[in-house]
Amino acid sequence: MTAPALPDRRRGRALARLVGLRVLVGVPTVLLVAVAVFLLAAASPFRPVYQYFGVGIFSASDEDIAAAERALGLDGGVFDQLGRWLAGLLTGDLGQSLSMRQPVTQVIVERLPWTLLLAGLALLVSLVLALTAGTVAAWRQGGWFDRVVTTVGHTLEGLPPFVLALGAIAVFAVAWPVLPVAGLTDAGAAPTFAQVGRHVALPAVVLGVSQTPWLVLHVRASLISALDDDHVAGARARGLPETVVVLRHALPTALLPFVTVLGNRLPELVTGAVLVETVFSWPGIAAAVVSAALAVDFPLLAALTLLSAIAVLAGSLVADMTVLLLDPRVDADV
């Protein structure tokens, strides 16, 4: 606290180093993912051009098929295709989605915002639930609330998000129809704030709850160990009120690792989004993964795989940057 300028500058340098290194390593990692996906496709018995022709493939001549492969950029070896695809990537051209019959870029631009909305709200639900329930459970460790939280947490951990989604549909589509269980809007309605808000509620809560158990158990565990820390014991010894001890002294120590954990939970959030969007017919990018897979739409699948890899790496980077900015000790470690 005496000379804030110096740590800030060191922090800035550390931050720059972190970002630089991650980008340096992230680019080859993403490239590696691209190569792996193309190798998988090359080894697959499935020919993407079949998708283009559909049932007509059985009557199409060899020349027609070859011409279509050329037009779709499917001719040549796997590395030719990969090269062309990567070159296209640099110019923002991700190819043509075979199942949606529109450019992959357009599919992403149209659908990504809806996924971000859903995932953002789910994360918010999850954060609020995890922080409140985790704190209370740790505070009264061994009490009835703690027992309920840990039991429910462990049980939910074992259930895939789609089971939760089915439960929500059972309640809201059949027993108690107060919230819509599918789609973005009502029939023919424009996607207004009210319309989308009503439709996003259920999927967002389901996705949020499905992500909560792991977070809540983490908050609880790290808060319990933080409550044992010397500075917390010191605060207690000074006779500070229990709320102050828990919320001002213990919780902040427990929150830093929580941020890291949150960043690293992104793959599970994506996985959850794939299942929840599919069950709730949410028109996001994660549900497009499933429809692309069912239609063997390779250009779209490849682009979405890469997109998710970038999202995962970015999520982890943002979390670590946040930790670096917030933790008074981290700058000394770097």
Partner: protein
């Protein structure tokens, strides 16, 4: 301690801020393209469809059963299945030997592109059908046709290879403008595949593959401009997804499996529309397979399956047992003697007699060959999946092991000659012709026509005679003879005629129930005569 407090604020506040920004950023909604604007006045209609056509080309079979919104044929069926002139001005006039048919054309009809309908369009369309180089798949629907000529400025003459008494019934396929057919080459390359140009009550506004199709009313339609001005069809292949979305009020109607349709109608208060059909589901048996081709196996299977059980249990009562392709909705043409009763004991007796002996696991065998074959079903079709499972279960009870494989069509089609398949088809208009396509030996292994290559001389003879019959009475007699011949040596196991179930909003007048052919999706259904609908006041 001080640091900790700051850290807390610094952690929570930016996190909340980030989430808030993300949320707000997204919540300012960008209307998805193709999203219909609201219309409460009933001039717009949004439907969900479980099936998306591969193309919109009538020469490739699009709208072959009629009720296509983009095209008209020369003739069309009304709600009572009677043939009515459409682009034809009146009934066709046959020559005395019924080998030449003259069709007068309706005047003043225009295509969506503005050109006027004339004999040259009809001639160009049917010449494209006749030209083997253009590979029109509907050629097999007019096998008797040999030539087509214009007659003056307002009529067309069709020449046939042999007398065919109900030829006008073959003329329901859509007419294309001659301009789009210019240039030759396979019709599968025509731009009209994706940009329909016809004379129908609706024209294509936009088709986003895999997503939506938007149709708008043809204000110059010869039958009068439709009152429902804009129709959006959203493609959602999964039955449960459609059920959920339609129950959520997202659509004005959709097609659903019977049990699901009933449940959705109950929950959502929408109208349940159940239509009888001539849409059979049959197990096509491959004659290349020594087990499936065995006469005793085929005869036994036909007596081992509980057809009424399937209708009641799997179709929620919405359907009828099927023994052959002739549907019960045409009682005159059905031969009562050609029915199979559910009789497991009789099935066992047939198999015992033929030397198929039960093994230790209950599966029969003969001369070292196990009574076992593979049955394919399209994995995403829940009705065919359930029928396949029920068939396998019934066959297993008779000692025949049916191995199931749930596949996509692209995997099924190349194997149709080698493995059994849950096949669907049929129409209530000309079931004799349909039977000829499905079971006549001359159509063996021709795509979905007779995929198992069934060949039975008596069946062939009866079907040939039915097609050439000079009048309705002798035609019916031959169709009944065909059923008797088929039942004596069945080449497939017909299971059920599936009723079609739909849920629909009751906001329009003009709905007429109809008996449906085998169709996909919402082209038929309550909306088969959508052009005549008017919004309820």
């Amino acid at each position: 301690m001080c640091c900790c407090v700051i850290a807390l604020r610094n952690t929570v506040v930016p996190l909340l801020a980030v989430v808030a920004v993300v949320t707000v950023g997204c919540a300012a909604p960008t209307p998805a393209p193709g999203e219909p604007t609201p219309a409460g006045d009933g001039t717009e209609l949004t439907l969900a469809d479980g099936y998306e056509p591969d193309d919109l080309n009538p020469l490739l079979g699009y709208g072959a059963e009629g009720a296509s919104k983009f095209y008209d044929g020369l003739y069309a069926r009304d709600g009572e299945r009677n043939l009515q002139p459409a682009l034809a001005a009146a009934e066709a006039t046959p020559s005395p030997d019924q080998r030449t048919w003259t069709v007068p054309l309706r005047r003043g009809v225009t295509f969506h592109d503005g050109s006027t309908l004339g004999p040259e369009d009809v001639v160009a369309t049917y010449r494209a059908v006749l030209d083997p180089d253009r590979a029109a798949t509907i050629r097999s629907t007019v096998p008797m046709l040999t030539a087509v000529e214009p007659v003056g400025t307002d009529a067309v003459r069709f020449e046939l290879a042999h007398p065919y008494g109900s030829f006008p019934a073959r003329l329901t396929s859509g007419i294309l403008p001659s301009e789009v057919l210019e240039g030759g080459g396979p019709v599968s390359d025509l731009p009209v595949n994706t940009r329909a140009v016809g004379t129908g009550p609706y024209s294509l506004e936009e088709w986003r593959r895999g997503d939506t199709m938007i149709m708008k009313a043809n204000e110059r339609y010869w039958g009068g401009a439709p009152a429902v001005k804009r129709v959006t069809v959203v493609f959602a292949t999964d039955d449960n997804t459609r059920a959920q979305r339609v129950a959520a009020g997202e659509f004005d109607g959709t097609v659903l499996p019977p049990a699901l349709a009933k449940a959705v109608a109950e929950q959502s208060g929408m109208e349940l529309r159940e239509h009888a059909s001539a849409d059979y589901r049959t197990i096509s048996l491959p004659f290349a397979d020594p087990v499936a081709a065995d006469p005793a196996i085929r005869a036994a299977l036909n007596r081992a399956v509980n057809r009424q059980g399937m209708v009641d249990a799997l179709l929620a009562g919405q359907g009828q047992p099927a023994f052959h392709p002739i549907p019960g909705v045409l009682p005159d043409q059905v031969e009562p003697a050609a029915e199979f009763t559910y009789d497991p004991a009789e099935a066992a007796r047939i198999l015992d007699e033929a030397g198929w002996v039960p093994g230790p696991d209950g599966v029969r065998a003969r001369d070292g060959r196990t009574a076992s074959f593979t049955l394919m079903y399209p994995a995403t079709d829940t009705i065919r999946r359930d029928l396949a499972q029920a068939f396998a279960s019934d066959a297993r009870a008779a000692g025949i092991d049916v191995r199931l494989e749930g596949l996509g069509w692209e995997a099924i089609e190349p194997r149709m000659g080698r493995d059994a398949l849950v096949l669907g088809g049929g129409d209530p208009f000309d079931p004799g012709f349909k039977s000829w396509q499905l079971l006549h030996s001359s159509n063996a292994a021709d795509g979905f026509n007779n995929p198992g290559s069934y060949a039975n001389p008596q069946v062939d003879a009866a079907l040939d005679a039915a097609l050439r019959a000079p009048d309705e009475a002798s035609r019916t007699e031959q169709i009944r003879a065909f059923q008797r011949a088929y039942a004596a040596d069945p080449g497939m196991v017909f299971l059920v005629f599936v009723g079609h179930s739909y849920v629909a909003q009751d906001r329009w007048d003009g709905y007429v129930p109809v008996v449906e052919p085998h169709t996909h999706g919402v082209t038929w259904g309550p909306w088969w005569n959508l052009e005549d609908w008017t919004p309820k006041p």
